[in-house]
Amino acid sequence: MNKGTGLRVYAIGYLIFLYAPIILLPMFAFNDSKVIAFPLTGFTTHWFSVMWEDEQLFKSLKNSLIISGSTSILATTLGIFAARASTRYRFPYKGSLIGLIMLPLVLPEMIVAMSLLVVLLSIGIPLSIFTIILGHVLICTPFAVAILSSAFQSLDKSLEEAAYDLGETAVSTFRLIILPLVMPGIVSSLLICFTISLDEFIIAYFLGGTDTPLSAYIYGQFRFPAKVPAMLALGTILVLVSISLLATAEYFRRRGLARTGAKDTGGFL
C-alpha cells in the first residue's frame, strides 16, 4: 500500500459526506412520490409546477431578493469605507474600532438576533424587511471589510499618488485608478454578502414580522410533509443559481487578474 492511499480514501470519503446530501436534493425533486425515501418510484416535474404555483413562495422570494440585494450593497459600501480607512489612514483607537466592526463575525447570531429584537421592540420600530436588512448588514459588514481590506492592501499607494501627481483630484483618482483595481474585491464582497444574507435564518426568523424571507418560509413549509418535495425542487434551483453565480464571479475575477497581470492567489473555484 503506498503512502498516499489512506489520505486519498479519507479525502474521497470527506467529499462524499459533504456533497451527497446536495445530490439527494435533485434526486427527490424529480421523484414521483410524496415520501422522501428510497427506492425512487419514477420521474416527474410535477413538484416544479407545484412550486411554480405557490404564490406565497414568490412573495418570500421577492422579500429575500430585496433583503439580500440591499444588504450586499449596504454592507459592501460600508466595507469600502472601513477597508479604505483601515489600510490607508492612521487614527487613534484604530485597532479597537476595527475590532468592534469585526466583532459580529464571532458573536453568536442568536445573541445578535435577540438583542436586536429587544432593542427594536423597546424603541417601537415595527418588524419588517427593513429590520432584517439592519440585522444582516450588521453580520455581513465584517465579511465585506475582510474581503475589501485585502483588496485595498494589495494596492500600491504610489499608484494613487501618481494619478494625483498627474493632475487628478482625490475623487477622480478613486474613480479612475482605485475603483477599477479593487473591483474584483467589490464583486466578491457583493456576492458573499448576498449569499450570507440569502441563507441566513436566525435573524430573518426573529426580526421578520409578517414579511417572511425565503429561508424562514422554507423552514415553515417543512412542517407539512406534502410540501417537502416542492421545497426540494426549489432547493435544486437554488443550488444551480448559486453555482452559476459563483462561476460568473470567478470568471470576472480571473479576467480582471489577466488584465492587470496580477498573480492568482486563489478565488472561489
Binding site: D156, S158, E161, A162, D165, G167, T169, R259, G261, A262
Partner: protein, 368 residues
C-alpha cells in the same frame, strides 16, 4: 559633466529653513538650499536621512511643519500636489496596471483641451523620446522593469513639468540596465532641459549623473556641491566616508597663518596646506585624509615629483584592471588603502614588500 554651468541660471526650487516632524521624530532639520533651473540635482544620503521626504515636499505629497518651499519663485504652501508644476517618477514606477502603455503615458492629458489626434501625437512623441516607439498598445503589466521605467518617464515628461522628481528610479534595475539608464537619463535631461531632481543612496550614481549634489545626514544637508568638489574636498569626515573611500591619518596642527596651515601628520611628516584644504572648525582630533588614487607606489627607477614616504605592503587585493594595496606607513599602525592601475609590465607586489610611496600635499584634506 556638462557645460551648462557657464550659462547664468535662475533658481527653480528654494527651501527656506524647512522643518518636518512626524510626531516627535524630526525628519527635516532646517533645510535651506536652492536648486537651479535646468540642472540635474541629486539628493544623496543613507536610508532614513530625509532625502525622500524632502523630494516629497517638492511634489506636495508631504506637508512641512515650518519654513517654506518655493517653486519658480512661488510659495507652495497652499498649492496641492495635483496642480504643482512638478511630476514624479516613483521608485515602484506606479504604472497603472489596468491600462495600456498609451493610456498610461496619456493619463495626465485627460483634462487637457487639445484634440484627441494631438494627444495621440504627443503620446507617440513621448514614447519615441524614451525609446519605446511602437509599444503603445501593449498592456502595461507585460513590460520589463526597464520598460516600465521608460513608461513612467514618458508619462511624467509629457506634461512638460518645470521639475521632474525621480525617487530612486534605478534601484530596482540590475547593474547593467542601471548603468544604461543612467546615461539615458543624462541624455534625456539635456534634451528636454527640465530641472531633474534625483533621490539616491548610490554615491556613484549621484557622481555620474549630477550637476550638483546635496549630501544629507539625519535630516540635514551636510554638503551641497558639484561632484568634483564633493569628491576632492569633502567638508567633513562623514561626507568623505560616504562618498568613495578616504584614508585618514592622525595629525597635529602646528600653526595657522592666514592662508596657510602647517601640519605634522603621522607617516607624512611636516607639511603645509592651503586654507581651502582645511575643513571644519578647530577643536576636534585633527586628521588628514586622502583618496586611494592620489598616492602612487614607486617602482625601481621612478622618482616622486613631490614628496615620498616609506611604507610596507600589508594586504593585496587584485581586481584585474586595478590592484588595491593596504599599506602601512613607517611610524604608523593603521593600514591605508591605495589603488594602482595595472599597467603592462608592472608587477603586483607581495605582502610584506617594502616600498616607496609618492604623494602630494595638494591632494590632502585636513579635518580639524
Amino acid at each position: 559633466m556638462n557645460d551648462k554651468s557657464t550659462i547664468p541660471r535662475s533658481d527653480m526650487i528654494e527651501f527656506r529653513d524647512v522643518h518636518k516632524y512626524y510626531g516627535d521624530y524630526h525628519a527635516l532639520r532646517g533645510i535651506t538650499a536652492t536648486i537651479r533651473a535646468g540642472e540635474f540635482f541629486s539628493l544623496l544620503g543613507p536610508s532614513g536621512c530625509g532625502k525622500t521626504t524632502l523630494l516629497r515636499t517638492i511634489a506636495g505629497f508631504e506637508g512641512i511643519s515650518s519654513g517654506a518651499v518655493l517653486i519658480d519663485g512661488k510659495d507652495m504652501a497652499k498649492v496641492p500636489a495635483n496642480v504643482r508644476p512638478t511630476n514624479m517618477v516613483f521608485q515602484s514606477y506606479a504604472i497603472f496596471p489596468h491600462l495600456t502603455v498609451e493610456q498610461n503615458v496619456g493619463f495626465g492629458l485627460r483634462k487637457d483641451p487639445m484634440s484627441a489626434a494631438a494627444k495621440a501625437r504627443a503620446v507617440a512623441d513621448a514614447l519615441e523620446m524614451v525609446g519605446l516607439k511602437g509599444y503603445g498598445a501593449r498592456a502595461a503589466h507585460a513590460l520589463s522593469g526597464g520598460q516600465r521605467q521608460r513608461v513612467a518617464l514618458a508619462r511624467a515628461l509629457i506634461l512638460k513639468p518645470k521639475v521632474l522628481l525621480l525617487d530612486e528610479p534605478l534601484s530596482a534595475l540590475d547593474k547593467k540596465m542601471r548603468e544604461q539608464m543612467q546615461v539615458e537619463l543624462i541624455r534625456l535631461q539635456r534634451q528636454v532641459g527640465i530641472t531633474f531632481i534625483l533621490v539616491t543612496h548610490d554615491q556613484e550614481e549621484a557622481l555620474v549623473m549630477s550637476d550638483r549634489i546635496a549630501v544629507m545626514f539625519e535630516g540635514e544637508i551636510a554638503q551641497l556641491a558639484d561632484p568634483e568638489t564633493l569628491y576632492r574636498r569633502p567638508n567633513s569626515k562623514k561626507v568623505a566616508d560616504f562618498i568613495g573611500t578616504m584614508n585618514f591619518l592622525p595629525a597635529q596642527i602646528l600653526s595657522e597663518d592666514g592662508g596657510k596651515v602647517e601640519v605634522e601628520a603621522q607617516g607624512f611628516g611636516r607639511l603645509t596646506l592651503d586654507a581651502g584644504q582645511c575643513m571644519g572648525t578647530p577643536g576636534g582630533a585633527p586628521m588628514v585624509g586622502f583618496r586611494p588614487e592620489t598616492l602612487t607606489i614607486l617602482f625601481d627607477g621612478q622618482t616622486a615629483t613631490d614628496r615620498e614616504s616609506m611604507a610596507t605592503v600589508a594586504e593585496v587585493v587584485y581586481y584585474g584592471d586595478m590592484t588595491y594595496y593596504d599599506i602601512t606607513f613607517d611610524g604608523t599602525t593603521a593600514p591605508m588603502r591605495i589603488s594602482m592601475r595595472n599597467v603592462f609590465g608592472r608587477p603586483v607586489l607581495d605582502i610584506g614588500t617594502r616600498t616607496r610611496v609618492a604623494w602630494s600635499p595638494g591632494a590632502l584634506v585636513l579635518f580639524r
